[in-house]
């Protein structure tokens, strides 16, 4: 194969066919994909299906704890998982900048394959386009995913059964992904040990759902961070959200970098963190189950839904004060001094 991606790799000719067979099929190999039809033909049980799509653009494409390929699989798998669905199939479409080293592409594709295998999902169809140098940044990936949704879990995505007194559970320390990316961009010449938390959460979610615990709502706290999910929860219904700052785990290295730059970890992106709203009697069961899973070791109850202050998310600060949590207007900007 060529050393770098050429415009011809997206032309539909021989170069593209070689790329598909020698790279994509080699790594993603499965019975549905190898049919190579214009559409993937899938087996799905009767009943509800969850369907989602997301596009991934990230600088740098390789970062501590992952790469754009892993991210593209985890992000879509997690969107299905937090809807209560069991992820089954995903698609992978690539927009590649001419000149991308082939070994970088292979590293990314193999990382996608590895992550898909771990999550037990099949990459069943895809697409490749190559654009002129400068028209995209290395590569963009879009993945869409389909998951089976058990009829008893259809309420989870909307959270329609949430009520006052329900507990809010988080599966681990926040802000790792965003700060890892920031450090990797060498923003301010940081040299840290921070790793992205990029991971597929579907097995963790499955373990929790299998306990029969009454899960009212789930959402993964990605862009906009934990704070944004809290605001979204409050804005949807006639309930207030109360979060205890002290109970929200943040690792020291992440906290240190946030303090230094003037970032609030509550607004920093995660790629392997989810929030669950649980019936209060089932809290212990959920926490126990999460702690038995490698991605839930630091799971904690971080707050609850309240009848007061409907529509508002409130933070009980670590020193005992109270203030509201609001959505961020745009990007979080570093402080001047």
């Amino acid at each position: 194969m060529e050393k770098n991606i050429l415009l011809g790799h997206g032309s539909g000719g021989r170069l593209m066919h070689t790329l598909i067979s020698d790279l994509f099929i080699k790594h993603f190999d499965n019975a549905v994909l190898t049919q190579q039809g214009d559409s993937a033909i899938l087996d799905l049980p009767p009943g509800k299906t969850a369907f989602t799509t997301d596009s991934y653009v990230i600088d740098p494409v390789f970062f501590p704890g992952g790469d754009i390929g892993k991210l593209a699989v985890c992000g879509t798998v997690n969107d299905l998982a937090v809807a209560g669905a069991m992820p089954r199939y995903i698609t992978a479409a690539f927009i590649i900048e001419e000149g991308l080293p082939m070994q970088d592409l292979e590293r990314i594709v193999s990382s996608m394959a590895k992550e898909a295998a771990k999550a037990n999902v099949m990459i069943v169809t895809g697409d490749t386009k190559v654009v002129n140098k400068g028209q995209c940044d290395k590569l963009f990936i879009n993945t869409a995913g389909i998951g089976e949704l058990d009829p008893s879990h259809t309420h989870i995505a909307s959270g329609e059964t949430m009520e006052a007194g329900d507990k809010i559970i988080l599966n681990g320390p926040i802000a790792q992904h965003g700060m890892a990316i920031m450090a990797a961009r060498n923003f301010g010449n940081f040299n840290t040990s921070i790793q992205s938390d990029c991971n597929c959460l579907n097995h963790l979610v499955r373990d929790v759902l299998n306990t029969g615990a009454r899960i009212k709502f789930m959402r993964d706290a990605t862009r906009g961070g934990l704070a944004t999910v809290m605001c979204e929860m409050a804005s949807h219904r006639e309930l207030g959200v109360l979060v205890n700052e002290e109970d929200v785990p943040v690792d020291d290295n992440v906290r240190g970098m946030c303090e230094l730059l003037g970032f609030d970890p509550f607004y920093v992106a995660n790629e392997g963190k989810l929030v669950m709203v649980v019936h209060p009697e089932d809290t212990d069961k959920v926490i126990r189950t999460m702690k038995n899973h490698p991605l839930g070791k630091q799971a904690a109850v971080i707050g609850e839904l309240t009848p007061d202050h409907p529509g508002q998310a409130t933070l009980q600060t670590a020193i005992g004060g109270k203030r509201i949590i609001d959505m961020l207007a745009g990007e979080q900007l570093p402080r001047i001094c």
Partner: protein, 359 residues
């Protein structure tokens, strides 16, 4: 986390709040004049812990907020020049000018880069010898020495494409002007990082001339509450002086090296402050011997006529005469997504902090 958690200790906070409740008499107005304090006070929810008769006012301590609109307009005009790269602290990019902002210009193709320090701006200049790199120098005595060091480095490296547009300011004139204007202030929570550079001497007038209490405070909850307690004691005893609460960082004599560099590069000039107008000797202009790095003198540019927004009371908010909630625009036309006035932009701005933490 060491050196942080101690200052956010719940038991200590509770104890200090109790002591404050015990000593406070009547209505007391305390003003912080550092954006970092404004932000910390709201972020930790400190007003919810204090007795109601203690009013915390936010003063002109947010660098972005006091900077003139003309400065933004000039930066916008520079950003429209083909051979210019603007290097700036992040907070400044969203501040609305008369008809545009750096953010808006960036979306139209202007080369505007966020940096953490002037040194990064100098690096950009080195990497782009065909471009003029203009660093937007804003902030008080905290950031001014950094800019001065950048200019000195540029001189040592004989950089010929690095410039500074300076709107650096010094804090004491505004603190005096507020009292002169009749704003009721019983005590100043004086800025910790400014004082780290300047030392405590610059506030001597506050107790001596104006009879107002003054405590230089750190930025953690325990620091701020202890400073409030110290201010109340000065007020009760009517024994006004400048005290340093933030002793782990601030020395009475300040940072001599930083002061020296600042003095070598900058000279006092009359400067325009939002809310105050022109205050004598309140700004820092670049001295003649470094004029080749002064964007103002070296890169002439046509700047549009300054247009003021109607209804915005940022000026009065900066003086502590009014609170964000008193503004008709607050939370409606003016919010963090679409800021009208500068105080809504930076998270050190009073309106921004109130909008986000205290709506």
């Amino acid at each position: 986390m060491k050196y942080i958690d101690e200052y956010r200790n719940k038991a200590l906070v509770k104890n200090l709040v109790k002591k404050i409740e015990d000593v406070v008499r009547g209505e007391v107005s305390l003003m912080e004049v550092c954006g970092g304090h404004t932000w910390a006070i709201q972020k930790f929810g400190i007003p919810s812990l204090l007795p109601e008769n203690i009013r915390l006012l936010s003063g002109p301590g947010c660098p972005v907020c006091v900077t003139s609109k003309r400065f933004i307009d000039q930066a916008v005009a520079y950003s429209r020049l083909d051979d210019v790269i603007i290097a700036t602290f992040g907070d400044l990019v969203r501040v609305p000018g008369s008809s545009s902002s750096l953010d808006l210009e960036k979306s139209k193709g202007a080369d505007v880069r966020m940096v953490y320090s002037v040194i990064e701006a100098l690096d950009i200049a080195k990497k782009h010898p065909d471009k003029k790199v203009i660093f937007l120098g804003i902030g008080f005595e905290t950031t001014a020495p950094g800019t001065a060091a950048g200019i000195k480095n540029a001189a040592a490296q004989e950089a010929d494409n690095f410039f500074v547009l300076s709107s650096h300011k010094v804090m004491p004139p505004a603190m005096g002007a507020l009292i002169d204007e009749g704003v009721k202030i019983d005590g100043y929570i004086a800025p910790g990082h400014v004082s780290t550079i300047t030392g405590s001497g610059i506030y001597a007038d506050i107790p001596e001339k104006y009879g107002v209490a003054c405590v230089i405070s750190g930025f953690e909850p325990v620091d701020i509450l202890q400073s409030v307690y110290m201010l109340l004691q000065q007020i009760n005893k009517q024994a006004y002086t400048v005290e340093i609460q933030y002793r782990r960082t601030v020395k009475p004599e300040g940072n001599q090296l930083a002061l020296q560099i600042m003095d070598e590069v900058f000279e006092p000039v009359d400067d325009w402050w939002r809310g105050f107008g022109i205050l004598p000797a309140s700004g820092l202009g670049i001295r003649d011997r470094y004029s080749r790095f002064d964007a103002n003198r070296m890169i002439p540019v046509e700047v549009e006529e300054t247009a003021d927004e109607k209804g915005c009371i940022c000026g009065e908010i900066l003086k502590g005469v009014k609170k964000p909630h008193d503004c008709k625009l607050f939370g409606k036309v003016c919010n963090t997504t679409n800021p009208v006035g500068a105080c809504m932009v930076s998270h050190e701005g009073a309106c921004n902090a109130y909008f986000r933490f205290n709506a």
